[in-house]
Symmetry: C2
Subunit: 391 residues, 2 copies
């Protein structure tokens, strides 16, 4: 039995090394503050949990249609109307096992062997691997503070070649938290439409914005592939439920794929998701968003005071991508020592690509303000001592 070649090109996540070391320290009784985490610290919203529990107890939990519960697809269509003022037919909305399942479906739908896909670097590491899984070639394109870590048509032009078939963008971005303005997003949508290329817009951090709300790529075209999820803003990571919006003429093909890949997304999770759209729950999510905002303001200010440089202020998600080159020339070693010496776990830049990752750390603020303050104290202590050492 031989292992597929594709495995050699899939890097493990370096944060796993951090995480396993953090767990080892915790087993030794050390207190670890987890700023490496990629999920909200809040529990499932109580109204959602209660609804899901009531549903689960009844026990009638069969496969749903492959595209998802019709009621949930309609609720999401209504959400596009209410939140963005955008009309999306519910038939175009496919319920998937998380955004991850949305990526599986989207990539299987559009990729042929050898197709090149442009990805923002730094960016979410799984994109490359989804592309490779289906025979595509991920092309990491460096983006920096000059474009707030996002693509624009000029960048695309400079790297485009005849094998390039499409682009993935994510706004708010992981790891930078940077948000595309509506005009910037529209320019990208238009540019890719002109090229007859696909655009996959990962909108999983939508709702978690602290300056301006995001606009969806669906506002500018119904030919884009939009991915979203109940994981982040809706606070439901473990449920594994998200969605993919496809152009109308892809519905039949997406349906065939969903039948084969998933049969259906988890049924109790789909019912749980259905309970997300009540006014009471949306109000609760707004309060959570405000908490995140407070943490962002605090963490950004404190990190800058310590000497980290934040070149693009994060306007969304729950991450700060900070330049630590004042303290180290190797952010991964820095992260390991920071953990070892102070018990603060962060994610090294090299999990997000090849674009000067040794200069960057991702700090997640999915912990309480108290814990964040404690982490800041420790980071400060560690960084200052480091500087003294080098002096």
């Amino acid at each position: 039995m031989v292992i597929s070649n594709r495995l050699a090109s899939i890097q493990p996540f370096y944060v796993m090394d951090i995480l396993s070391r953090a767990k080892a320290l915790e087993r030794q009784g050390r207190d670890v503050i987890h700023l490496e985490i990629g999920e909200p610290d809040f529990p499932t919203p109580p109204l959602v949990a209660q609804y899901a529990a009531d549903f689960a107890r009844r026990g009638d939990i069969k496969y749903t249609p492959a595209a998802g519960l019709p009621d949930l697809r309609q609720a999401i269509a209504k959400y596009y109307r209410d939140r963005y003022g955008v009309q999306v037919e519910s038939e175009r909305i496919f319920i998937t096992p998380g955004a991850s399942g949305g990526f599986l479906l989207a990539m299987a739908l559009v990729l042929n062997e050898g197709d090149k896909v442009l990805l923002e670097d730094p960016g979410y590491p799984c994109y490359s691997n989804f592309v490779r899984l289906f025979g595509g070639i991920p092309s990491l394109v460096p983006v920096d503070a000059s474009t707030r870590f996002h693509f624009n048509p000029e960048i695309l032009s400079a790297v485009w070649d005849r094998r390039t078939k499409g682009v993935v963008i994510a706004s708010p971005s992981n790891p930078t938290g940077a948000v595309l303005r509506p005009d910037e997003l529209r320019a990208l949508v238009d540019d890719l439409e002109r090229r007859s290329a696909f655009l996959i817009s990962d909108e999983i951090y939508h709702g978690l914005e602290y300056d301006e709300p995001s606009s969806t790529a669906l506002a500018f075209s119904d030919r884009v592939l939009v991915i979203n999820s109940f994981s982040k803003y809706f606070g439901m990571t473990g449920w594994r439920v998200g969605w993919l919006v496809v152009p109308a003429d892809c519905i039949d093909n997406a349906e065939k794929l969903a039948q084969n890949l998933f049969i259906s997304a988890p049924t109790p999770s789909q019912y749980a998701a259905l309970a997300s759209f009540t006014e009471a729950n949306l109000h609760g999510l707004e309060l959570r968003r405000q908490v995140f905002q407070e943490r962002r303001d605090f963490l950004c200010e404190q990190l800058q005071k310590i000497g980290f440089s934040i070149k693009t202020m994060p306007s969304g998600a729950f991450y700060v991508y900070a330049d630590c080159s004042r303290f180290t020339s190797n952010s991964f070693d820095f992260a390991l020592s920071l953990l070892e010496e102070t018990g603060v776990a962060v994610t090294p830049g090299k999990d997000f690509g090849n674009n000067a990752p040794e200069r960057y750390l991702r700090f997640s603020y999915a912990v309480t303000l108290d814990r964040l303050a404690a982490a800041v104290e420790r980071i400060k202590f560690f960084s200052e001592r480091g500087r003294h050492k080098r002096a």
Copy 2:
């Protein structure tokens, strides 16, 4: 935006036509008996549903480790010991979103572009599509009653070529319900090991056996890929939780894939699955198995009386694959008319491959004995009238 070539080779499930027609009839007030169904009619076992509900209400529902909850992996390892007397290290067990997720993981792990994979025809239709998704070439190999619709080393020899990289088998089989004897399974495992080829053993219908219990491919080698699920025997289709067992030296690669493909299987579902292994629940499942057995005995006898030919008695799963060539030369048309005229829905042979599918229908007995009896009456009426018509 261009659609992937692979979509052209993925056939829709013909049963979907049956299903949508059945729904239309139901909307008109017609009573439809659903013998086309691929899932048990029983609800989630009450103990499992209750446990899951209690867990869901607490709301602490985050991502689990990519390979799954350690407790669940250990419970499955124990299940292999208790049920089969086989030692499987829990580290080799990956929790997946259903057996479907197990196939995604397994195929991504072993397939390279152009690899040929041998599949039993008739067989579960998704196998071909999983193979195609990852650049492989599915090769449907006809099997018939002479080998109880299963592969054996002679069949493999006859079709093997240098591009062939592996084989998928399923026992009990969907659609035939045929079960491999331990010596037959061992012969296949040994043969493929000798060829250094992979064997994916789909054991999703294990536990639903009515003559002899199945043995697992893991009893004969720890180099096989074994897929199983909580969907069928455990009665938990909608929860989307299953597992894949990999050889020890594939653990790291399977972990990388799971992190990227799924992040993790649904957390409430994993907790629900954990509650499956209590003695009380296993006892309940045994009672359900007996109910299925009674239905099988009844349905096989009745179909034969009517004039269907069952060349290999189904010893497992909840399907009868019956030859209807005495009544029709086109089983799909027969299925459509049967539905139209009598309200009995069945699955046409052509959903299971190219091996004389027009002769076969799959009857599922995931309905109560009462309903099964009513269906039999209708089928009898329809078949006899058909014969008269032709006479």
